[in-house]
C-alpha cells in the first residue's frame, strides 16, 4: 500500500431527536494512523471535533462487547476493526441493526436484557448440596462440551446480523439460545427441561431459518447458529421420545 493516505473520511450516522426528527449522516475527516481501529477514529472525533457524538465503548480489546456498530454494512466490534482494512474509505458507521436507536450510534439493548433471563442462563440443580459436599468436579471433556458457548460477551453482533430478529423482534435470538445451550450442555446442570419450555415454543429455536450470519460475525467464535441447529435436533429427538413413551414428558 502506498503511504499517500494521511486522512480518512468517516460517514457517521447521527440521530439527535431533540433537534432533528430524522437521522442524517455527518462527515468527519480524521487523521489516518496505521495502527488505528475504527473506535480510535471515533474517539478522535469525540475528543477533537464534536464532543456530542454518542457511542458506547469501554475495554478497547474485544472483551467488554460494548462497541459493536455497523461498519460499511457489517456488524463488527469497532475496537477490533482496522481502518487500514477499510481504505481508501469513506467508512460508513451506523448503529447496530435491529435495535431502536436512542441517539447517534447508541441502540437500546433492553430487549435482549429482558429475553436473556427467560432461558435461565445459570446452573440449575435438582437438589442443592451442602457446601461441605465439596466441589462438583468436571473432566476437561465435560468442560469442552460447553466451553465454546461460554465465550459469549453479549456484544449483540449476532442479533444485528440476524434478518429474522430484524423482522420478527419476538424471536429470542442467537446469543440467548447459545447461552441456554452453554448450561444445557454443562454436566453439573439439570435445567434442560425448564429451558425447553422457552426454546422449543413459539419464537424459540424454530423461528430460526439458519441464515448462519450470526456465526459469521461472532467475534468470539461462539457459533450461535450451530447451537440453535443442535438444539433443533435435541428438541426433535425429545418430541419423538415423548411419542414413544407418552406421559413421561408433558
Amino acid at each position: 500500500m502506498e503511504n499517500a493516505v494521511d486522512t480518512v473520511t468517516l460517514k457517521v450516522f447521527r440521530y439527535r431527536p431533540e433537534t432533528a426528527p430524522e437521522p442524517e449522516y455527518e462527515t468527519f475527516e480524521v487523521p489516518y494512523q496505521e495502527d488505528w481501529m475504527v473506535l480510535d477514529a471515533l474517539n478522535h472525533v469525540k475528543d477533537e471535533m464534536d464532543g456530542s457524538l454518542s457511542y458506547r465503548w469501554s475495554c478497547r480489546m474485544g472483551v467488554c462487547g460494548s462497541c459493536g456498530m455497523t461498519v460499511n454494512g457489517e456488524p463488527v466490534l469497532t475496537c477490533a476493526t482496522y481502518i487500514e482494512d477499510l481504505l481508501p474509505g469513506p467508512i460508513r458507521i451506523d448503529p447496530l441493526r435491529g435495535f431502536p436507536v436512542i441517539r447517534d450510534l447508541v441502540g437500546d439493548l433492553g430487549d435482549f436484557m429482558a429475553k436473556l433471563p427467560r432461558v435461565k442462563p445459570w446452573i440449575i440443580r435438582k437438589e442443592e448440596e451442602p457446601l461441605d459436599a465439596g466441589e462438583t468436579l468436571q473432566t476437561p471433556e465435560e468442560v469442552g462440551a460447553f466451553r465454546q458457548y461460554s465465550m459469549c460477551i453479549n456484544c449483540m453482533l449476532c442479533y444485528a446480523a440476524c434478518p429474522i430478529y430484524e423482522m420478527e423482534p419476538d424471536f429470542i435470538g442467537p446469543a440467548a439460545i447459545a447461552l441456554a445451550q452453554r448450561y444445557n450442555l454443562d454436566s453439573r446442570d439439570h435445567g434442560a427441561d425448564e429451558r425447553m419450555d422457552v426454546l422449543s415454543r413459539k419464537h424459540g429455536v424454530w423461528d430460526c431459518t439458519f441464515v448462519g450470519e450470526c456465526s459469521v460475525v461472532c467475534p468470539k467464535d461462539v457459533d450461535p447458529a450451530g447451537a440453535i441447529q443442535r438444539y433443533k435436533v435435541t428438541a426433535t429427538m425429545d418430541w419423538f421420545r415423548s411419542l414413544l413413551r407418552p406421559g413421561r414428558s408433558g
Partner: protein, 197 residues
C-alpha cells in the same frame, strides 16, 4: 438549618430596602441555588442556542427505528446465497410433484404415459428441467454443507472435525445416487428403451 431561616428572614428586608432597583443577575444566581432560566434552557455552557425539534418531548424521546427493506437479502453475498438456497427448495417440490405425475401417467395406461413422455421430450421442457436440475444440485450441495454446524459428533470425548462430517455427507449422497442409477439401469436392462428421450 438556623442560618437558612435567618437568610429567609433577611430576604424580605433586603427586598424591601432595595425595592427601588432590581438585583443584578449574578447576585440572583448566588442566592438560594436558583439557576437563571436562560442558562438552564441553553444546556451546554457557551453552546449556541439550537433549534428544537417540535415533536421532541424531553422525557419521552422518540427512538429511531430503521424499517427492514424488502431487499435486505441483497446486503451481502452470504444473504444472497441463503435466499437462493431457500428459493431452490421450490425446485425440490417441483421434482417431487413431477415424479408423482409420472407415476400417475404410468398408472393410467400406455397412452397416457406416452403422452407424458412426449411432453417431457419437448425442447422447452427439457431446457426447463435442466434449469431445475441445476437448482436441485445447488440446494443439495448447500444443504449438505450446513451439516457440520448442526451435528456435533463426539467420539471418545473429542469432537469429530467438521471436515469429516461434511465429507461423510457428500460421500453418502454420491453413493446413494450411484446405487439408484445402477438400480435403474439394471431394471431397465436395454438402454434403448430408457424412458428419457
Amino acid at each position: 438549618m438556623r442560618s437558612r431561616e435567618e437568610g429567609a428572614a433577611t430576604g424580605p428586608d433586603r427586598a424591601t430596602t432595595g425595592s427601588d432597583r432590581a438585583p443584578p443577575p449574578a447576585e440572583a444566581g448566588t442566592r438560594g441555588g436558583e439557576i437563571p432560566q436562560e442558562l438552564h434552557a441553553m444546556g451546554d455552557r457557551g453552546a449556541p442556542p439550537v433549534q428544537e425539534n417540535p415533536r421532541h418531548t424531553r422525557y419521552h424521546p422518540k427512538w429511531h427505528r430503521q424499517p427492514t427493506p424488502l431487499t435486505w437479502w441483497t446486503r451481502n453475498r452470504r444473504y444472497r446465497a441463503f435466499i437462493l438456497r431457500e428459493l431452490t427448495s421450490v425446485a425440490v417440490l417441483y421434482a417431487a410433484v413431477l415424479l408423482l405425475i409420472h407415476l400417475l401417467a404410468l398408472d393410467r395406461g400406455p397412452e397416457s404415459h406416452a403422452a407424458f413422455q412426449a411432453w417431457l421430450a419437448r425442447p422447452g421442457v427439457v431446457a426447463f428441467h435442466l434449469f431445475v436440475l441445476a437448482a436441485l444440485l445447488y440446494h443439495t450441495v448447500t444443504w449438505l454443507n450446513l451439516a457440520p454446524q448442526a451435528i456435533a459428533l463426539r467420539i471418545r470425548g473429542r469432537r469429530v472435525p467438521s471436515r469429516i462430517v461434511l465429507l461423510a455427507h457428500h460421500f453418502a449422497w454420491l453413493a446413494l445416487s450411484a446405487i439408484i442409477v445402477a438400480g435403474l439401469l439394471f431394471a431397465l436392462g436395454d438402454p434403448g428403451e430408457a424412458p428419457w428421450p
